[in-house]
């Protein structure tokens, strides 16, 4: 591995972050800056009858819908979220107006004096209730083969339902944005994943030409999807405030406020009807997916699509019918969260396969292996698995690392082992990449190369990764390859930093440009090369019928979880996770291992201890005292290995990686818990309260 791209190097962002020198948005003070505080709805659904505001002292302002020069909606996939409530509110925490001024104490005093009169309307609080009332945002379906006929042929039918809950991102740095109107231009600074999404949203809200808007990312302390669409909303609010006050306006959330109003992972219910053939093989599967989208649709349609296209997991079911629905409820809007809908459906499918195997009295892993998809097979949407699928090699490795076979045969009550197999579709879903057409620029300037992309560093290692791809190609030291500031005035739109697309798609473009630059390196002192993404011709996708290749390729993985359950308290102790991944070729093995460990721990949290319930639209856990995520004390032993499977179109053979681990650990842990207690598991989080209850019923 001496000269391999995978050989670890020091992360370029580490020194500043470790020493504390890194300046986050809350550390950046603007001259004459004002602060903003949001007044929010405390009703889940109501008409606003009146808003009474106190008389404002000099220098204090109220900013609301009347101050918006353009459109009062946040631009995203479905642009339905008002920047400030019009005349109605649809969830607790919905922004109604801002109070802006120089002193925070005074701002809070003004906020406390604002009286809003509402007329309550009947609200919808759960997916079940939404299904009953039919408050559907989106409904999609697709099928494969002849499911109806296949059910007719099935010798056994099994029906099951799987549930997953809300998850809060808990990025270390809460949301924060500063807007500054200066020289006829709107400058937005802040913690974000997608500068050009923010730019588009500001354009709509101000009604301005794009050349008068500049978005500058500040150092971002974690995001996990939580800073994909949400920063656009805050940015639009502070932009309007800065335009009105003609001063910089900073808005940074407390943790409590952040939790109350920011997006979460979609809660899900997935209903399955499986038809088994004579050899007990699943020959036909009916999957009915429902997500709680919350009060506004926003990104939910594409989250649902990824959930639907990932719902068959790593299996090739000959006949299939899949329906997906997003329901409107009066809960805080759901949004992007690492895995983007796939961890929910993969959890259901993995547990379904596990539970069917247990019911049939066969080893779950063997049962799963009998259904594996392989190269040349059709995908669930009738595309094609073009690249080599090394699942058997992955499984063999993870079995060896964990001693799975030996341990599963010696089952003891309260000690269990479980396995999960999973995949992640690389890059945007469907025609996403073809639509976005990411663009990058590589510029040689003497002995230095500047790379210009809109892909942001948010803690995941993008800057190190992208610079490394260029440096390695050109045989330059890392310090000679630098990233242009993430400022939409200086960089092209290489697309948002989402969908595990940065390394494969943006890194791929940088690799191509670097190779070209290498060829002409000596021709001039200054050379600029730009590249625009071109969707490979062999990929086809029908976005109306959902037919074709939903993704250009896939990354794969297997996890084995070992758990011990306290026989008195039913607390789960996850002892060890063994993990093997195929992400093509790791661009930096150590950094990637960090990604996988983080993803494992984060998703174990979702599967076990992270409880977020809302009662009549109000979150019961709205601070980090009550909403608990794993600490270092809770991290199990993690053994993590990669197998190489170079992807022809990825830089150095790299595929997607960042979201892959999120789908793996939850079903592995749930299968291990099922194994430990000898009961089927169909719902997460696996709290001790829930386990004690279901174990009692099984006894």
């Amino acid at each position: 591995m001496k000269d391999s791209i995978s050989k670890p190097i020091t992360r370029v962002d580490a020194p500043a972050k470790i020493s504390g020198a890194a300046k986050y948005i809350g550390d950046i003070h603007f001259e004459n800056q004002l602060f903003a505080k949001t007044v929010r709805s405390d009703k889940p659904k109501a008409k606003i009858v009146s808003i009474k505001t106190p008389s404002l002292p000099d220098g204090y302002y109220i900013i609301d819908k009347n101050d918006i020069p353009g459109i009062n909606r946040m631009r995203t996939v479905v642009s339905d979220h008002p920047i400030f409530a019009d005349d109605e509110v649809n969830y607790i925490g919905q922004p109604i107006l801002l109070v802006v001024g120089p002193e925070r104490e005074k701002i809070y005093e003004i906020v406390s004096q604002i009286k809003i009169e509402y007329k309550d309307e009947s609200a919808v609080f759960s997916i079940e209730e939404a299904e009953e009332k039919g408050t559907v945002f989106t409904e999609y379906s697709y099928s494969k083969g002849e499911p109806e006929a296949a059910f007719h042929d099935a010798v056994k039918i099994i029906e099951d339902e799987y549930h997953t809950g809300l998850q809060e991102h808990v990025y270390l740095e809460p949301q924060g944005i500063t807007g500054e109107y200066k020289d006829e231009t709107m400058f937005i600074y802040g913690s974000m994943q997608c500068p050009f999404y923010v730019k588009g949203a500001i354009q709509d809200v101000l009604g301005w030409d794009s050349d008068r808007i500049r978005i500058i990312q500040s150092i971002t302390g974690g995001a996990f999807g939580g800073k994909e669409e949400f920063p656009s909303l805050m940015a639009c609010q502070v932009a309007v405030a800065s335009l009105k006050t003609k001063r910089p306006v900073q808005m940074i959330y407390d943790r409590d406020e952040d939790i109350i109003c920011s997006t979460k992972r979609h809660p899900s219910i997935v209903h399955y009807k499986a038809g088994l053939g004579k050899s007990n093989q699943v020959i036909v599967l009916n999957i009915d997916i429902i997500f709680d989208a919350g009060a506004y649709s926003e990104l939910s349609p594409v989250v649902l699509q990824r959930g639907m296209f990932s719902a068959t997991g790593v299996y090739n079911f000959p006949h299939l019918s899949v329906r997906g629905r997003n329901f409107m409820t009066n809960n805080v809007p759901s949004g992007a969260y690492r895995g983007f809908g796939a961890p929910q459906t993969i959890f259901g499918t993995e547990m379904l396969m596990h539970n069917i195997a247990v019911k049939l009295g066969v080893d779950p892993l063997k049962y799963k292996i009998n259904h594996l998809i392989k190269r040349g097979d059709p995908t669930c949407t009738g595309g094609k698995i073009r690249d080599e699928v090394k699942l058997l090699e992955i499984i063999e490795k993870v079995e060896k690392m964990s001693g799975y076979r030996r341990k599963i045969e010696r089952r003891k009550k309260f000690k269990g082992i479980g396995v999960s197999l999973f995949l992640h579709g690389c890059g945007f879903t469907g025609k996403g990449e073809a639509t976005i057409k990411g663009k990058i620029i590589l510029k040689k300037n003497g002995d230095t190369v500047i790379l210009k992309v809109s892909s942001v560093e948010m803690g995941q290692g993008a800057e190190t990764c992208l610079r490394k791809i260029v440096a390695h190609t050109l045989s330059l030291p890392m310090e000679k390859v630098i990233c242009e500031t993430i400022d939409t005035g200086l960089i092209p739109d290489s697309g948002p930093t989402v969908a595990s697309r940065t390394t494969m798609i943006v890194g791929g473009l940088l690799r191509q440009a670097s190779l070209e630059l290498k060829d002409c390196w000596n021709e001039a002192n200054e050379i600029e090369i730009s590249k625009t993404y071109k969707h490979p011709d062999f990929l086809s996708w029908d976005d109306d019928k959902f037919v074709g290749d939903a993704y250009p390729t896939y990354s794969w993985g297997a996890n084995v979880a070992e758990v011990e359950i306290d026989s008195l308290t039913y607390e789960i102790n996850v002892k060890k996770i063994s993990a093997v991944y195929d992400v093509g070729v790791p661009i930096d093995e150590k950094m990637l291992r960090g990604q996988m460990q983080g993803g494992i721990v984060q998703s174990i949290g979702w599967a076990t201890i992270e409880v977020m319930n809302s009662s009549k639209g109000k979150l019961a856990q709205h601070n980090l005292t009550d909403y608990k995520i794993p600490t270092s004390m809770d991290v199990p032993e993690i053994a993590c290995k990669f197998i190489e499977n170079p992807y022809e179109f990825g830089p150095f053979g790299a595929k997607c990686a960042g979201e892959l681990p999120s789908a793996g650990a939850p079903p592995a842990v749930a299968a291990a818990v099922s194994n430990a207690l000898g009961i089927p598991i169909k719902s997460i989080p696996l709290t001790p309260e829930y386990l004690m209850e279901i174990d009692k019923h099984e006894d």
């Binding site: 925070r104 940074i252 608990k628 794993p630 600490t631 004690m692």
Partner: protein
Amino acid sequence: MVEGFRPADLQEALEFMAKHPSIPIAGGTDLMIQKARGFGLKPDFNKPLLFIGHLRELRQISVRNGNIHIGASVLLNELIKNDKIPEALKMAVRQMASPPSRNLATIGGNICNASPAGDTLPYLYAADAFLVLKSSQAERKIPVGKFITGPGKTTLKSDELLTEIIIPDKVFSANYYKKVGTRKGMSLSKASFTGLADIESEKITDIRIAFGSVAPTIVRSREIEASIIGKPVSEIKNAVPEIVKKFAPLIRPIDDARSSAEYRKQVSLRLLENFLMKLT
């Protein structure tokens, strides 16, 4: 108005309290969170703060006349490190919060906070701890169970300071502690259980049982304990269902954001049963 006062010694602190109703603060690990108002705002203290974390008189641990005296401002981490502190108390303290919080938080704070989930409390109830409450004029000594009257409520008077915790220096042959939190560290108790017992000549000669987080205050019943004392160890196994049945009505937990009443009750009684069975 005085916003804060840092006395030179205990006497000065008590004199200040006599004149100014104030809020004593040591580590502030709970108080600062309770009174936090928002990003960039001062916490919501309606009275002046009296800083007592540094007072040397409150930082001592000593053993006198068969009692362990612990100053109210002794840090949780100091309890863990001190060899005079009974193991049963250390078992509880080791699982509280996180190392940084334990380097700030004090035992006096945990008591005066009077939370049903206060993790030093079940042990202090079980060990028959007394508290010394001082004012500039007087001093009184009361059992911890008489001090705490409800969630966040104590009999502390406005001019009084908790200065010392007195625990009989007695070693039990059986020490049992279990905290049920949501995760392994930095967790508030959903339920906690402390069991102490002495066994001599195959007989239970002393037993103390205390439950945390399952009622407005710590649950302990001298009456039920008395019914166990004197029993031969060999009879415990048969007596367990009866003892569990006697405790059941005293365990009156609530549903909240962290757990359910049903779970808290079940788990408390399971821990009780496990403790008793371990004595046999």
